[in-house]
Symmetry: C2
Subunit: 340 residues, 2 copies
């Protein structure tokens, strides 16, 4: 190889290396490509920098805990929680096994298929349906049924599996936090057993990092003498409102440094998170994008909603306490991974 050729070759290598380094630096400087530049993105990036680089706000890796509400924070919760759809869809199978339920409310209404009547169900109605469809079977039987439903069911608006309806920007936050030594937990008012069926696949969050509303199980032996855990209709942890910090203490055992929610059910989790020493991040997703997703509050003049209520009082507390409100409309460049 002549000198010129060697120099060209070397220059080529150096150039390639510089490009590679540049790409890496670029990747490092934009961990949240689906976020528009703004105060929300800035709050996340500054929090991660402050808590992972040496300085007064540094957080030791063992204390890096971040908690995320699920419905409305990590994925779509409108028009109704996916778990409620699961329970309604399971009613015919339950009635087949217990035909006497066919003439008993609220099962009779579910069997009639009258969506308008179902929309008027009381909490007690929904609890009866939940008890009938989520308990009385082994843990494995429940998991198999839920898995089957998730593979087949479609959301009414986008006609996609529910597991497609996770928010790309929040997926990026999960990945970004984990890349910086944070353990990411779901802390949901939804059923812990239900969310655990898919959380690993869609969020990379293993079952032990899902905290949610939990019914008891009872250990016993089946007809074949094999040990079995049966799901019982007895509430153990109501993981909503004050139940969220209580559930965090029960199953995580440490105060989070970052917490994300979207409704009044997340308020106590955010208060508890912010009450700790040092840098703490508290964020609330505001659904103000009727075109790309949904718009509901009633904060900021948005339409009221029974599902994922975000009151003006919560908005005001966020402002007062230094929590960051994420505007879906303004802060998110894209909502879903499958969008063009």
């Amino acid at each position: 190889m002549g000198l010129n050729s060697t120099l060209r070759h070397t220059r080529g290598l150096v150039f390639a290396a510089a490009l590679a380094v540049g790409a890496q630096v670029f990747a490092q400087s934009d961990p949240l490509p689906s976020w528009n530049d703004g105060h929300a993105k800035k709050a996340i990036v500054e929090f991660v920098h402050a808590t992972t680089m040496s300085g007064p706000k540094f957080v030791p890796p063992e204390q890096r805990i971040a908690t995320f509400d699920q419905d409305g924070t990590l994925w779509v919760e409108h028009p109704i929680y996916s778990q409620v759809m699961y329970c309604l869809d399971r009613v015919p199978a339950v009635v087949k096994v217990k035909p006497e339920l066919a003439n008993v409310e609220p099962f009779k209404t579910v069997m009639s298929g009258n969506r308008e009547a179902m929309a008027k169900f009381t909490l007690q109605d929904l609890e009866k349906i939940a008890a009938a469809t989520l308990t009385g079977m082994s843990v494995e039987e429940f998991q198999a049924e839920a898995r089957k439903w998730l593979a087949a069911a479609k959301d009414p608006r986008w006609k996609r599996p529910y597991t497609d309806l996770t928010y790309k920007p929040m997926q990026e936050v999960l990945t970004y936090l984990r890349a910086n030594g944070y353990r990411t937990f779901i802390v949901t008012g939804g059923g812990q057993d239900f969310v655990r069926v898919y959380a690993e696949q869609i969020y990379g969050i293993p079952p032990e990092q899902v905290v949610g509303t939990a019914l008891t199980t009872s250990f016993g032996y089946g007809k074949d003498g094999k040990p079995v855990l049966t799901k019982e209709p007895k509430l153990m942890l109501d993981d909503d409102h004050a139940g969220k910090p209580e559930g965090i203490h029960l199953e995580i055992g440490q105060r989070p440094h970052a917490a994300f929610g979207n409704s009044v059910g997340d308020q106590q989790m955010l208060e508890y998170t912010k009450a700790g020493d040092g840098a703490r991040l508290a964020m609330l997703v505001l659904h103000d994008d009727a075109k790309r997703e949904y718009a509901y509050g009633p904060a900021q003049g948005l339409p009221d909603s029974k599902v994922g209520t975000f009151t003006q009082a919560l908005y005001d507390e966020a402002t007062k306490q230094g929590w960051t409100v994420i505007s879906m409309k303004n802060d998110w460049k894209r909502i879903f991974a499958w969008e063009p």
Copy 2:
């Protein structure tokens, strides 16, 4: 450098490299140096090989869960559980705040210092003492007290901090399993909050991987308006016997592939573990070493014990079910890290 010198130098490097490789191979082939060769050590190594190398018994990393009882399995539980010592030691401080307790049993006996009388406490007595010393304070106040006690208290036999009384061979099992992609959990009949205070420091197990007996907490606001979690005298999870698989489902959400215990309180956890498909490891530590530690059963003619009971029926089930009994006397080369 002459040719000979170069050759010698090269040979030296090659030799050093070979030594290094050899040392590494040796290290890999002996992950359990405190274990004598025998069926117990063999069972652990074969289980890890079978479940982590390609073959019919391979377990995907996300399913690699191993659970360990604590008292008597990972550290010394005789003459009495360290948490009971903590509660007894806390009584004077409680009586100072509530002087009316000084003349009420069982507090009166504790204040008298009469160890013989204390040894006769009923379960109800101990529950009263536990409620008085473990509840009615914030989570942080409890943690600070427990930390202070652990730093000062000494075990009566070896005059060492309780945190020194962990078993070196079991520490090696924890490390070995984690090096092979297993997540290691403590599943203890002891108090979850108590064990979480020191589990990270002495076992490398973070709070969220400690499952134990749990009282409820209640979320509220202190006099300063700050959110606070208060420990309440209401049992939420009795993590012993059948409560162990129930606690595993609640806080881990997956059946373990390996489980370690030492008493009748661990039986259901081992049954549940072994009832899963594929390779499952179930082991029981038998305390048959009065000289280096303690000897109790009453299995195999060992003295009976109320603390860490290992019955002959449990021994027989272990034999029948293919669980491996670890003989402390024969299987462990050393018990503690600080032994000469």
